[in-house]
Symmetry: C2
Subunit: 391 residues, 2 copies
């Protein structure tokens, strides 16, 4: 993919900066996006209208020349690294190499992302290079707007996600309920871990990997970041949140369903219906011209009108609606734009989750999450998976 | 686990620094080690003899109080965040919150790891806090020496690794060879991707996850970082490099075998024998008191004596022995110590790989890798998996 970097050109122009600099491995999505290169160890990317890569060692050199989208690929050894180590020691030598690399492109000033490594920045400053951390990361901002090809990558990952969700629901549907309410499957207690294993194996079989999955039941589910553990029980809401990454494209999908084996309490049913209404309200607000803040406010309105606390009504609450409404999804599972109190303008090509939820250790947790792309006249929901509370 | 942080106390004492500061999510192993807390979004850890955590939002607050090893857990809201946003805007407010947090512990100067985020550092400096990037990261250095419990975690991950390697070798052993030399299994062409899927499903079933696996055949294998793709062929060396992470403990293992279905060439057989000899030489050198540089030199000697280029004999070579001899393994799959030209003193409790190899696009690649722990009187090889070239 050849990214549209015109916004980066404008940024460098407006800020009167010679280049944009990254020092990261390709787990850093800005690095992967700007360099077009996948490598497990940190390397340098300079963008000054063209893209230039610099590697500490020769190891990635040949592959970078073949695979990256850079105009030039160089190594420390091309900038007299060994001589500089003799003169300044291994630590300081690196800053001389980087300064010489920048100087070879007439770059005296660079902008860098907010999480750029301090040691590299201080080293360059000591060599007289001006280094400024930009606010949100201009490359991160560029990545928020997806091409059709990128949306198709998310769509493909979402199909795998749905196969995994179906595998999880099948396990729960096939389970039986013990006298004490514990779920049993194939003669064994059905645990969060067992359901996660089924999800993850299904994702692998569909070309996806993932870092974590959430299968959280009862009080576990009242904490939105608890991954869940141990036996699953009947009549309790179980949050299943799956966010796989397609191994070949590196794009993510994201979906949550809350399901119950047996009979949910009246409160859980009420929360579920309310959360579906909050989701509808969010989608009604999702269009170009609206802000992420508008979409988040629509969800807060629904919950607050029904008497639930939100972080908007009480910034210290630990129950109620205690996270933001959604986030961008792409090379990172959490990226721009934000659907939150400080969420900015929405634009066609933004891929976002809509994921309202309610939490209370006394009740458990409810969350429902779809993924959608903002279009010229509204949005397209990329999720093709039904919502049902009882399995 | 309660880490031994006496070396961090000494470091702060010697450098006359009030505290050590981290700003990272728990994918950053220093953060996970020092905070004892697992969270997907960045948070702040301050160590000043005790450990203090600071979270932007309330989301992780309750779980951090329950699960982390910190003496105190606080949120931005505890430092008048909303008022500071009104006064200074959302960007600058964060630096005021962090400065107030540090000030509440009488911390005016902090040391930070080399890859600490520049924006956070510049923000603190603007508030009058002294921020210094240390060289290798003192917490990273502390992590290099493992407790018995940590070694057991690596050992457990290595058992899963060996189950996955056996599954891969079984696939290759069961394959048949087509007329054109392509391997076939169960009526389908056997590809790198298919073998990797088998490896990864086996790891998941054993409680491990992983980012990447290498199954590289022929010319692919001549690049040590090429993950491999497409059909596998007979009579060619296939490098299988597996480095899983135990999901519950987060510790890694690492092992490589090079295997051949059919009849390897005389050159491949010769390289394989030479690489086994290089490995033996490395293990002969592996003991406390020796340096990582000594162990690496032992491998270079074997290869150079046999007429192969190494990066020691030619720092621009792209064939021969073109990487270092090994690296530490723990919470990160690549961590300290280094078994390389600048590798320092080896100490009991260091867990390292020994992984000599030879590469040439004309021949392919050979690499053999075991994982071992340095002991008081030498080392213990944690690998219980045979080495055989022909499957």
């Amino acid at each position: 993919m050849d990214p549209d970097l015109s916004a980066l050109d404008e940024y460098l122009d407006e800020t009167d900066t010679d280049g944009y600099l990254l020092d990261a491995d390709s787990e850093d999505s800005d690095q992967y996006y700007l360099s077009g290169f996948d490598a497990p160890d940190p390397f340098i990317t300079l963008y000054d209208g063209e893209t230039h890569l610099l590697f500490p060692r020769s190891l990635e050199f040949g592959r970078a020349k073949r695979e990256s989208r850079a105009e030039s690929v160089q190594r420390y050894v091309d900038f007299d690294h060994a001589e500089l180590v003799d003169e300044y020691g291994p630590e300081e030598a690196v800053s001389y190499v980087l300064a010489a690399f920048l100087s070879s492109y007439d770059v005296d000033s660079v902008a860098v992302p907010p999480r750029f490594p301090l040691k590299t920045a201080d080293g360059l400053r000591a060599r007289g290079v001006s280094v400024t951390a930009d606010t949100d990361g201009v490359v991160t901002e560029i990545r928020a707007t997806k091409t059709d090809e990128e949306v198709d990558h998310v769509r493909a990952a979402q199909r795998a996600n749905e196969a995994a969700m179906a595998a999880a629901e099948d396990l729960l549907a096939d389970a039986t309920v013990d006298d004490d309410g514990t779920l049993t499957h194939d003669g064994e207690t059905l645990t969060s871990e067992r359901v996660k294993e089924e999800i993850e194996v299904t994702l692998l079989r569909h070309g996806c990997s993932l870092d974590e999955t959430i299968v959280a039941c009862g009080a576990d589910a009242a904490d939105p970041h608890d991954r869940g553990s141990g036996p699953l029980t009947a009549d309790e809401p179980i949050i299943v949140d799956i966010f796989p990454q397609d191994k070949s494209t590196k794009y993510h999908a994201d979906m949550t369903r809350t399901v119950c084996k047996g009979t949910p309490s009246d409160t859980v049913e009420e929360w579920y219906d309310l959360t579906e209404r909050a989701m509808d309200a969010a989608f009604d607000a999702l269009e170009p011209g609206a802000t992420g803040e508008d979409v988040h406010a629509a969800v807060c309105d629904v919950y607050e009108d029904a008497g639930h606390p939100t972080l908007r009504s009480d910034d210290r609450t630990e129950t109620g609606f205690i996270h933001s409404t959604g986030h961008g999804v792409g090379l990172d599972v959490h990226e721009l734009p934000r659907l939150s109190p400080n969420g900015g303008d929405l634009e066609p090509g933004h891929v976002v989750t809509i994921e309202p939820g309610l939490y209370d250790p006394e009740v458990g947790g409810i969350r429902i999450e779809d993924i959608a792309v903002v279009t010229e006249d509204g949005y397209e929901n990329l999720t093709e998976y039904e919502k049902r509370l009882v399995v």
